[in-house]
């Protein structure tokens, strides 16, 4: 029974993850490919750009996010939850949408290039810092800082000797997440990049699909994996070294800002953060209404028309892309939820072998979507496995990206079911399956709903793998957006912005549904530092005073 449960996810992983991955390695491990790639100047300039923009993005995001993290963790103010929600929605927006939003808001001289890329990365990842650092921060008892003050530490000394050291593991964690995201940045750079600003990911795509240079692209993929493994290894050991057993404490009481200084700090930080996030999204919608001379709703009216002018077709039909995206998302969600749920059940039910499956299921999360798409592209191209034209290949690629999230959401709940409840049911005369149905099953619907919402959001915005797998004439929304924004012409640009607005709205709706489904239960939803303790707000305030 258990074996049967596990078989589906195992086969899925072997065929669609392990096999393409092996194919990729096989293509890369050839002396010829390695020497040509590594001797190319372009390879090293791409690697260098990837590294420094990721480092700069990480440092900037930590810097910009520090104050909002503090204000959100420590103060109660009107719109606090709204601000967190806003930052989180930006984080879950598809990369192409964020790229498009920056394109819309920046002045023409800055709209493409390094500065645009860094700005997009910072705005995109602010939520990581605010939530990961914020969760630790709100659990640091304010009395710890008070204790330091009574011992003679000035406010600055308190930050240096108490707050920063205790936040260090969280800062490392947030920093490494942002680094990983920006190092493998693809969608943002496809929209905002120029010839000189390509990351390894973009170069892999360019070599594989534009130049047909599979060997080169494979070598670059492996190069990237090596760097990522090194960063992950460093982050894990560093966190283990500095992680300390802070007893789990309730959320420290959030205070209303009292002094004028506090009010100014909280007010300006909250407003500035909101503005930084809202302006690009507002500009996105505005730009979709821009015609060649002022306001025009032409882009929206012509969404369903592939012909720009009578007889001139561009091969990108916005409305068709929308429909295609919805279909793809439906299938991807179905695949991901079924496979993820089966995997979670198998993992929860078995001991050591389960852990192996657990690790296997999580692998796709450590592999960039570009790698996944590229691997599938070069694997499933020969009969009888020539599946490139199959309608299900894109949804399967999306499902692969989404399965780890489904497993995590479901597994957390499965593991939190008190085993004694099962024992209690057994003592009351319930057979094992009957007990399971009575005790565990009712708890599963909520995480599965959350997982489905997540999978939908992921699929709607998926760009990396789709860039390799989608066929022309069957574009999903992100692909169509990138195409449209890459063209000149006011109408096409406006259509791109319109489509990006739709995609943004669709993603936010999916994610809001997830939040609502996850809210009433204890299911950790998505987002960095999920399950942040917003609920315990008031509990600690009733202390003796």
């Amino acid at each position: 029974m258990l074996l049967a449960l596990a078989a589906v996810p195992v086969v899925f992983l072997l065929v669609f993850y392990a096999w393409p991955f092996a194919t990729l390695l096989e293509r890369a491990i050839s002396t010829d490919a390695i020497t040509t790639t590594l001797s190319r100047r372009r390879t090293w300039s791409v690697a260098w750009f990837t590294l420094w923009q990721a480092t700069a993005s990480t440092a900037l995001t930590l810097l910009v996010g520090f104050l909002p993290a503090y204000v959100i963790a420590r103060y109660r103010f009107a719109g606090r939850r709204l601000l967190v929600g806003l930052l989180t929605s930006v984080f879950v927006l598809p990369t192409v949408v964020v790229g498009a939003a920056l394109l819309a808001v920046l002045p023409e001289s800055l709209e493409r290039g390094v500065w645009a890329i860094l700005a997009a990365h910072v705005i995109f990842n602010l939520a990581v810092v605010v939530r990961v650092v914020g969760v630790t921060w709100e659990h640091l008892p304010t009395d710890l800082e008070a204790a330091a003050a009574t011992l003679g530490a000035s406010p600055w000394q308190v930050v240096r000797t108490i707050t920063l050291p205790l936040l260090r593991p969280a800062l490392t964690a947030a920093g490494s997440i942002v680094f990983l995201f920006t190092f493998t940045s693809f969608g943002v750079i496809r929209i905002l990049g120029t010839a000189g600003t390509a990351t390894i990911e973009v170069e892999i795509w360019r070599r594989a699909t534009q130049l047909g240079d599979i060997g080169d692209a494979a070598v670059l993929t492996v190069l990237q994996l090596v760097v990522l493994a090194a960063v992950l290894g460093w982050a894990t050991t560093s966190q283990r070294r500095h992680g300390r057993a802070l007893a789990i404490r309730p959320v420290a009481a959030r205070a209303r800002p009292r002094t004028t200084r506090q009010r100014v700090l909280v007010g300006t930080t909250a407003l500035a953060t909101a503005a930084v996030v809202m302006l690009p999204l507002g500009a996105l919608v505005m730009r979709s209404f821009r015609g060649s001379d002022g306001f025009s709703s032409a882009a929206w009216r012509n969404l369903g028309r592939a012909e720009v002018r009578p007889g001139i077709r561009l091969g990108v039909d916005p409305l068709d892309a929308l429909v295609r995206s919805l279909q793809t998302a439906a299938w991807a969600t179905l695949f991901a939820v079924v496979i993820g749920a089966l995997a979670a059940l198998a993992i929860a039910a078995t001991g050591r072998t389960g852990r192996l499956l657990d690790a296997g299921v999580m692998l796709p999360i450590g592999t960039s979507a570009v790698t996944i798409g590229f691997g599938m592209l070069i694997t499933f191209d020969t009969a009888p496995f020539d599946w490139r034209a199959s309608w299900w290949l894109v949804p399967v690629g999306h499902a692969l990206v989404a399965v780890p999230f489904v497993v995590r959401t479901t597994l957390t709940v499965l593991r939190s079911v008190e085993p004694r409840l099962l024992e209690a049911a057994a003592t009351l005369g319930a057979a094992p399956t009957r007990a399971w149905r009575a005790v565990v099953l009712p708890n599963l619907w909520r995480p599965l709903t959350v997982a489905a919402g997540l999978a939908t959001a992921i699929s709607l915005g998926e760009f990396g793998a789709t860039s390799f797998l989608s066929r022309s004439g069957a574009e999903t929304m992100p692909i169509a957006i990138e195409r449209l924004l890459g063209r000149t012409g006011t109408l096409l640009q406006a259509q791109g912005f319109a489509l990006a607005s739709i995609l943004a709205a669709a993603t936010i709706v999916a994610v809001l549904a997830v939040e609502l489904a996850g809210r009433s239960g204890d299911t950790p939803t998505f987002g960095p530092g999920a399950g942040a303790g917003d609920r315990t707000d008031r509990r600690d305030r009733a202390r003796d005073r």
């Binding site: 003050a149 009574t150 011992l151 003679g152 530490a153 000035s154 000394q157 007893a247 003796d544 005073r545």
Partner: protein, 210 residues
């Protein structure tokens, strides 16, 4: 000497301290007794400068400190839940106040050892504070607060959470330490027996009407 003059404080419209005045003489140990919710902890926090009163004055050694920030008040505070710094070992906790005061390393280490000896934890300097037992943690908290020789030591229910036996033993011990070091102290408790056994004088706070 600590003087609290006419202190009033309210939270969300509820007055928790209503024109409270009290004086603690040099070297005196005063217990502040009151039911929970009577504002004892708030009064301590006002003395420490962690809360500012709506009205009233706090004087330490004759100086009006009502507007002085906590770190310049020369008070020590033993928290109910110790609040030991989890990223520093025992010696790092006890020596923290000396570090902030700029006491050089050698002298600091000497004073830390002296204090650990005083609270019965000689040789504990290198321990992680997360590995301490409940009673040991209380002792470290006391040593840490005493180290910079504050003008006034404030103890906020310092013995909560200990079993009866340990509680009584530690109460005697801490009272002894306060006497032997000549410390001016305010000891907050809701336990009349504890108040009577440790203090020279007991001040009772009235219950608050809500």
């Amino acid at each position: 000497m600590l003087e609290i003059v006419d202190v009033t404080m309210s939270f969300d419209g509820i007055t928790v301290l209503d024109h409270i005045s009290a004086t603690v003489g040099d070297g005196e140990v005063v217990a502040l007794l009151g039911p929970s919710g009577s504002g004892k902890s708030t009064l301590l926090r006002i003395v420490a400068g962690l809360e500012s009163p709506d009205h009233g004055t706090v004087r330490i050694s004759g100086r009006d400190v009502t507007a002085v920030p906590t770190h310049r008040r020369d008070v020590g505070l033993v928290f109910q839940d110790e609040q030991l710094f989890p990223h520093r070992d025992v010696a790092g906790n006890v020596g923290f106040g000396l570090e902030m005061a700029g006491v050089p390393g050698d002298e600091r280490r000497g004073r830390v050892d002296e204090l650990l000896e005083l609270v019965g934890l000689a040789g504990f300097g290198g321990r992680r504070v997360t590995d301490l037992s409940g009673g040991e943690a209380k002792r470290v908290a006391l040593a840490r607060a005493l180290a910079p020789r504050p003008a006034v030591l404030l103890l906020d229910e310092p013995l909560t959470g200990l079993d009866r036996d340990l509680h009584d033993r530690l109460a005697r011990e801490v009272a002894g330490i306060l006497r032997s070091t000549g410390t001016t102290a305010v000891w907050v408790t809701h336990d009349r027996a504890e108040a009577d056994s440790v203090a020279d004088r007991v001040i009772e706070l009235p219950a608050v009407d809500r």
